[in-house]
Amino acid sequence: MIPAKFDYVRPSTVDEAVAALVAAGEDAKVLGGGQSLMPVLRLRMGEPSVVVDTTRIDEMKGITDAGDAIVIGAGTTHDAVTKSDLVRQHAALLAAATDTVADRQIRHRGTVGGAMAHADPAGDQPPVALAMGASFTIAGPSGRRTVPASEFFVDYFTTAVGPDEVLVSVSVPKHTGWGAHYEKFNRTAQAWAIVGVAATVRMDGGSIAEAEVGLTNMGPGPVKATAVEQALVGASTMAAITAAASHAAEGTSPNSDIHAESDYREHLARVLTARAVAKAAGIS
């Protein structure tokens, strides 16, 4: 449990971080809160030659109101996100999902940007970002670019962030007044999700006017349950929600592992989607 040797740099600006990554070639790793990277290093599953520590970059911290969106610095801790009035008011689904990440100690260390860039298929926040149409600001040697969530998550543990780039912030469109619920299904309180369902809905007179649903651990990356979202429009009863949720496994490609085989994950996706939407909509 001792990492292999590596060089360590701690830049104080995004530009310095990018410069350090460029200098290191392809063999560098960005350190955010360290909650995923450190176990990888300690288990020697990864042996980068350089670790670029971004924890002292002020620009990457904090949550700001950008008019029609809220912008969360990549280095903002999970704990800060769950406690942010801005997030709770305008992106209640993100607050709900973030509140289930690991345990309290990890939420105080781990960062939202780190979790997004790590892109664990069992991560709780990527499906939220995908469902809510978030976008990601990435800095690299040729400047900054913005990538929509639909293009950000590429594959298992793979995002659009290049080896010489750093994720700077996540922008989440405001969903003010939307109901939200994250249904996480796991075996022990601190375990990863076997399946998770992130649902947020805009209600209009007792029925669902708009719905956004993302699935955790139902494929190599987060999945947007588009068929469910469409079928939910106009739903006002539990029966209608259940019928819509029956589409939840469509287009998914869940893995089989020791906790769940793929057919069971598909079953769970349907059951949990109905529950998540019902709670988000206040329908029982």
């Binding site: 449990m1 001792i2 075996r187 309180a189 375990a191 076997i194 769940a260």
Partner: protein, 791 residues
Amino acid sequence: MTDTLDTSSVIGRPLRRKEDAKLLHGRTNWTDNIQLPGTLHMAIVRSPMAHAKVTKVDVSEALKQPNVVAAYNAAELGDLNSVVPCVWPVTDDTVMPPFPALTGDKVRHVGDCVAVVLATDAASAEDALAYVDVEYEPLPAVVNMIDAISPGSELVHGDATNNTCYVYDLGGGYEDELAKHSDVVRVKRRFVNQRLIPAFMEPRAVVAAPMGMSDEITVWTSTQIPHVLRVLLQLVTGIPEQNLRIIAPDVGGGFGGKLQCYREEILVTQLARKLGRPVKWNETRSEDMVATHHGRDQIQDIELAATKDGKFIGLKVDLLANMGGYLQIITPGIPLLGMFMYPAIYKMDAYQFQCTGVFTNSTPTDAYRGAGRPEATFAIERIVDEMAAELGMEPMELRTKNWIEHHEFPFTTVAGLTYDTGNYEAATAKAMDMFGYHELRAEQKARRESGDPVQLGIGISTFTEMCGLAPSRTLGALKYAAGGWEHCTIRLLPSGKVELVTGTSPHGQGHETAWSQIASEILGIPVDDIDVIHSDTGRSPYGMDTYGSRSLAVGGQAIKKAADRVIENARPIAAHQLECSANDLEFANGAFSVKGDPEKTVTLGALAWAAFAAHNLPDGVEPMISGEATVDPEDFSYPHGTHLAAMEVDTETGKVKLRKYVCVDDVGNQVNPMIVEGQVHGGLAQGIGQALYEGAEYDSDGNLLTASLADYLIPSAADLPSFETGSTVTPSTTHSLGTKGVGEAGAIASTPAIINGIVDALRPMGVTDVLMPASPQNVWRAIQAAKGASA
């Protein structure tokens, strides 16, 4: 927690633990905290393969790495490559394959030890591992026990003819007994008692050091058994016993997993001897998962026969027990500790038992909290519930009809044990009352009738166990190499303080407090004035250590006897000082006084000084006062209890929730009820862990899939309800303090209670069993299978 204990005395008080201030303030002495000048750090090249010929182990490149001082393969270690001992061949023909500390010919499980590297710092040693060149020639892995004993299976040990370690046949005449009855109902099941990993909090660690100009080698190790280890290490290393000092410093849990003579302990000791320097090894959690011995792993075929009106006739048990790739200290014997317990609290006329030990390419198994008895208790309590379902009887009613009634003790069971005392009726009545048994049955009925997607089940476990290991003659009859006695020496210091030297070796149990309470009660000396010395063969030369709920049950008797002897040894000095006959003295509250003249009194503390100064001792009385006792227990002790679990099962997802857990344990007299309750809580968490969360799983190549704590799930406080514990007190009549032992009760009793509760919830759907751990997927699959069967 009990209303029947006399709290006016020191024994029976829930005193806070003396040892906790040190632990809470971080003033601990874990083995890893021991830093000796000149230490070499050992790292181990472990096999990534479950089964392979080793064709090359070249350490030459590793030797060139920075700060590396030495590196060895098996051949290079030569005579110092001692064998790992197994002291319990259970039959005359038990196959005992060689088990060298470093393997030279082939590897037999993932994590098997191939080479060692020693460097001046731990990081350099770990870095150098990658430079040891090992070539493996893969062989098919033997993973599944049933495949392993099938003809033509690949062999784990190449010079054997099959993978059978032993077949132990108790016999029993089950069918003959059944033939006497005309109305026999048989229920047969195969239960899989899955493999568990002890996962103690403190991973293993060892430091060995030659002690300067003397011949002594001191070994600090995170062990439960410093005394037994000393005997074993001298046997396998050839280091004279008197030159070996074994110290178990603060030890962070063991659960049987540190009841062992590990190859790493042998290697560190031999390398310290060879290199003449301190050598240290501290394992990672990843190593711990594959290299610390595992527990359980039995396939249990069990058949219970009863008359149609529910009287048990007989029981037949046939086990496959996974030994793993090698035999460790008592690997073969673990299932036999369970052999006696299958008939449990029930009366019946026939009992037939057979067990086959099987080698596979997996981590060796050995003792894990309960060691054989949890497996037995699980199977019998599960099959009793299945019999109740078969007969259409309420499961508690079936138990009541067959258990030993309190007026029938002492009772000799069909397995041959004589239970001294017990009161199953009282414990059960109390548990059912605390649980609200009948109210929950009513709620269960309502949920069934309304078709609630969340069904309720009530799980019952009325268990007993054998504790206080063990009468030495019994152990001898079972072919176990050692005895089961325990030792205590109590010394009065000149100041009147007391040193209590025990042969037990605590690793979290609270012996320092509890042993002080016993001595305080007898000697009348305050608990805080008693220092308990343990776990160091230099300071406590005699002992048999801590496992099998033996420390209080056996060690407590030694404390009592030693303390009584202190008083008797002080008596002539008191008589001399008080100028009376020794027979005229009575001893109470720490002082002798003359009968009928209570003004004439002298305290034990004053006598301690008088015996130290020795200016005025009676003729023939030696200076200093002490008492020493070694007690071999008269019999095992038999704690029992009734555990009840209310299980909510989400039939749509298979997820279960333990809503309420009530247990009433009868562990006899309690020295410290708070410690008793703590032991029950910890045991429950582990037993519930087996039922719901834990399970070591291998793939078909013998790779451990649950090799980290992210995949091997251990429940935390957040996953468990607040346990409601109670007790009844039926003192043991064969143990001088009336105690029975509590270390394993919770772990033994709780697993079947949980599974019985889940099956009870789902039985109307046709479910008759659920695989452990009862993960959501396993429960959901059981529901789907039952639906498929009924469709």
